[in-house]
Symmetry: C2
Subunit: 189 residues, 2 copies
DNA sequence: TTTGATACATGACGATGATCATGTATAATG
DNA sequence: CATTATACATGATCATCGTCATGTATCAAA
């Protein structure tokens, strides 16, 4: 049966959302085109009416996931608290696409890399606004350092999930970041 | 032709080393059994004489890569300087297996996860010894925070390789870590 | 209502890759 | 030297997956 114009737009949305969820959960390679379409309530045949190929789907799903531009709604320590929580660690399907997919994106073709790079740029700009520091340069540096630590810690905590080390990685990184950001930055030499 | 006893041991070594290199370069899934054997100068047929299956190879290759137990030979800022260098970013095949493979290991079966977890434990113990802090607890916290930031920054720099953001991530994280570790830790509240 | 366009289902195709079966030359053993 | 065990090459098998071909039912336009 053929769908209406509205249905088509909605289907496209549904496919992209299903892809975003599955990719974050299992990675790009372990998710098949059939998986995505089935998860969207369709069959594999219609896929190539929506996307050029699987790489195109990956690039567009990443762009969709990273597309938001709202300013951050909390201060740095609150963000870290949420980001470095066991709940976030245990639910990558709905979590940060950078932590879930950055490594795999490294080996993807240009479209996916470009979407990730653009998303990272926006994220660092937003983080700079809530980061400590006496000038813009220090704020940006703090944003980069904090973000690298958050992404790295979440990846390591997921890698070790199930061991007591995993919880320690989360809580100690939280404590470490909180301590860093409360200290006064050293004046330039 | 059949190889001698020594040849067999040497071949095993060669296979594991080839696997370690290829996995770090391309990830687990993109490397085939045939790739590994060819890179070791053999054909695919002999593989199952050495390993139970591909998952077994992955686990053993990770254990081999992470097996070293030597204490760290430099101070923290020197390590970060080397770790967060463009050279390391551009040569994952010979670089840190954690940065290259942590994300993919998350979805691997137990053997690979266990090897990574054990390696991470040792690495944190070594790092604690060269980390700043007035007591063991603070040293360990600094080790965790520094390591998370280093791994995260390297992954993000590889993801954005080719853009000017990539170099910025490396140098700013280096500067941020150096600044953090020179400051006096705040006394406990 | 008729006609044409098209969204999607079904099914096929070709490539790839993990794993196994078999043959053989040679090391190891006596 | 004769015999046996085995390391490894060649080749087959089976499953999976990306992609394409085709048919059809229904939406859209006249």
């Amino acid at each position: 049966m053929r769908a209406s114009r509205e249905q088509v737009q909605e289907n496209r949305r549904t496919i992209l959302e299903a892809a975003g969820r599955l990719f974050r959960e299992r990675g790009f390679e372990a998710v098949t085109v059939t998986d995505v379409m089935k998860s969207a309530g369709l069959t594999h045949g219609g896929f190539y009416g929506y996307f050029k190929n699987k790489d195109d789907l990956i690039a567009q799903a990443l762009a969709e996931l990273l597309g938001g531009s709202e300013p951050l709604s909390a201060d740095l320590s609150t963000l870290a608290e949420r980001y470095l929580s066991p709940a976030h660690r245990d639910n990558s399907a709905c979590g940060c696409p950078v932590a879930a997919l950055a490594s795999e994106t490294i080996r993807q073709p240009g479209g996916a890399r470009a979407a990730m790079t653009a998303g990272l740029k926006r994220q660092l700009e937003r983080l700079s606004e809530v980061s400590p520091g006496s000038d813009a340069e220090q704020k940006r540096r703090a944003a980069i350092g904090n973000w690298a630590a958050m992404v790295g810690a979440l990846i390591l905590a997921r890698m070790t999930a199930g061991s007591e080390l995993s919880d320690e990685l989360l809580s100690e990184t939280r404590a470490w970041l909180a301590a860093q950001d409360q200290r006064e930055p050293k004046p330039k030499a």
